[in-house]
């Protein structure tokens, strides 16, 4: 059977809906020994900040039932280094490049966005789960007004379609999604990790040196599916769904509740070729279920 897996997000065509999630795929290079980067729809690169960042002290990762908590703290070489040393290499591949950016202030986000103009990437993804230094450390992503403000500010500075990545650590994800849409977001991606903690009872200490971190993996999939479903039912812009996707079936679940594409995160830490495995699973599902066009299953769940 001939199947079509292309999807369009804010005018950008993805050859298939499988994207590597930010922070779990580095800048692509580490995975080339294990898979062909040309095969997947896109890569959301590891979160970038204006200046290089050291990140948090180790241990930075701990396993929990069907999940992991990480507290990397955005260790990255900074935008400038990325553009000069990593982007040229990545651009050799035929896959969409989404740059995931984070800042401490609205101005920083705008500066980073501006720096990417003319660099020939495909999309900009705003990671708004970071604490806002000016607002006393409240994450940008938890207040609708701040979400709208930062979205519209960055939108003015970028030539690329803007994806806003939503934090799940909120009471009303729909309000946040609507705020991003009102601010001019071209697409949304969700969910980022859920704030969590693990305890080492032998040493009477937190497992992570940073005390808290972000939970990801299959454990959070049911929460992610619920949020993606709620958001898809409330906004008109396309949604990239993620949270615990380990195989093709999981990806299909997200698309059935309305996601136009999916991102694979934690799975990359287990199988460096996880994105390709997920893609194969999706294609296999399509063949078995007789789905000719992937777009036919997007939001097919009626409730």
């Amino acid at each position: 059977m001939d199947i079509n897996t292309t999807v369009d997000i804010a005018g950008v065509t993805f050859k298939n809906p499988v994207i590597a999630a930010s922070g779990t795929f580095g800048y692509g290079r580490e995975h080339v020994d294990y898979m062909d980067l040309n095969k997947i729809g896109g890569i959301s690169v590891s979160g970038l900040t204006l200046e290089p960042r050291n990140g948090n002290p180790p241990p930075r990762i701990v396993e929990t039932p069907s999940g992991i908590i990480n507290s990397v703290g955005l260790q990255n070489p900074g935008v400038e280094y990325f553009i000069n040393h990593q982007l040229p290499w990545l651009k050799e591949y035929d896959t969409r490049i989404i740059v995931n950016i984070a800042g401490n202030t609205v101005e920083e986000y705008c500066q980073i966005a501006d720096r990417f103009n003319g660099t020939d990437v495909d999309m900009l993804e705003l990671n708004i789960s970071c604490p806002n230094v000016k607002q006393g450390g409240i994450a940008f992503g938890t207040q609708p007004v701040m979400v709208e403000e930062i979205t519209s500010a960055v939108k003015r500075y970028t030539q690329y379609p803007l994806v806003v990545k939503l934090s799940p650590n909120v009471g009303d994800i729909v309000a946040i999604a609507r705020a991003a849409q009102a601010g001019g977001a071209d697409a949304l991606s969700l969910i980022n990790t859920i704030t969590a903690m693990a305890v080492d009872i032998e040493n009477k200490r937190p497992m992570l040196e940073n005390v808290i971190g972000g939970l990801s993996g299959p454990a959070i999939k049911p929460i992610a599916l619920r949020m993606v479903w709620q958001v898809c039912n409330s906004v008109d812009i396309p949604v990239i769904g993620m949270g615990g996707i380990m195989n093709g079936r999981d990806a299909v679940e997200f698309m059935m509740v309305g996601a136009r594409a999916v991102a694979v995160g934690t799975a990359n830490l287990i199988h460096p070729d996880a994105c390709v495995r997920v893609l194969k699973g999706v294609e296999q599902y399509m063949t078995t279920a007789g789905v000719k066009d992937i777009r036919d299953i997007i939001g097919i769940i009626k409730t």
Binding site: G23, T24, F25, G26, R29, E30, H31, D33, Y34, M35, D36, S46, N54, G55, N56, P57, P58, P59, R60, I61, V62, E63, P65, S66, G67, I68, N70, V72, Q75, G217, P218, M246, N247, T266, N268, L269, I270, H271, P272, D273
Partner: protein
């Protein structure tokens, strides 16, 4: 393209109370396996609550069969799962991974210092560098946590064994023996692996004795291939420190550059 093969367990036997040695066949590797490199092994299937792979050092590569051996402590649920594997079972292995120990030609006399489970990778270092003048100082808490040296013993000129309770070998720490014997051995390189407290002291002593060193470091890991940035280790560069990745920048680092807080 490296594929992440399902390999085969050849044997998986107790060598001490909670310590097992597993032989695994079918691991593909293009480059020669270096001491300090590790296998990243998945316990259980994807359906289970255990997600992450477990990094375990290669403790030997058998010359005739190519079987890779690991020696592991049954510590938590992951290694407990590994301990249940039987000969003939499949096991999902990624690796060999990491930057192993590469020595300049001018290194003629190598001293291996290992503590606890840190002795495991040194056993393969002994085989790999058997053509050098080779000495070993190995220590454990007690006889119950000791790793039998097996074939590695034959590759070394002298081997010093100690336990903290004196139940096997000398009573004391590897660093005590290091101090006592450094004059006789006169190594031009130290390769050490073990608990942080031990490495910190080895580092101090190497500085004192003016010795070059390489440490094989451990840190909690995710991917094992360098993309998730979870396995951070503080390394000094140009008077400053930065976090490097144990999984691919290491696990073997220049010992004098490792920053212990």
């Amino acid at each position: 393209m490296m594929t992440n093969t399902i390999c085969r367990v050849e044997y998986n036997d107790y060598i001490n109370k909670n310590i097992k040695k597993m032989g695994i066949s079918g691991i593909e590797h293009k480059r020669e396996v270096l001491p300090g490199q590790f296998l990243h092994i998945k316990p259980g299937s994807d359906y289970h609550g255990l997600l992450l792979r477990r990094p375990i050092s290669i403790s030997d590569v058998l010359p005739s069969t190519g079987i890779m051996e690991i020696i592991y402590l049954i510590k938590g649920p992951g290694t407990a799962e590994l301990s249940r594997l039987k000969p003939g079972d499949g096991v999902d292995v990624l690796g060999p991974l990491g930057n192993g120990l590469v020595l300049d030609d001018n290194v003629k006399n190598l001293l291996l210092i290992g503590g606890g489970m840190g002795v495991a990778p040194l056993l393969y270092a002994a085989r790999y560098y058997k053509h050098l003048s080779l000495n070993g100082i190995f220590g454990w808490r007690d006889t119950g946590s000791l790793i039998p040296l097996g074939a590695a013993k034959d590759f070394m000129d002298r081997v010093y064994i100690c336990t903290q309770d004196g139940s096997t070998g000398h009573r004391g720490l590897v660093t005590d023996i290091f101090c006592e014997r450094v004059e006789d051995i006169r190594p031009d390189m130290v390769f050490a692996c073990g608990p942080v407290a031990m490495l910190k002291e080895v580092q101090r002593l190497c500085t004192r004795f003016g010795l070059d060193s390489r440490f094989s470091m451990e840190e909690r890991m995710g991917c094992g291939v360098g993309s998730c940035m979870t396995c951070a280790c503080k390394i000094e560069r140009d008077g400053n420190w930065q976090y490097e990745r144990v999984c691919c920048d290491g696990p073997v680092f220049n010992g004098q550059r490792v920053v212990f807080d």
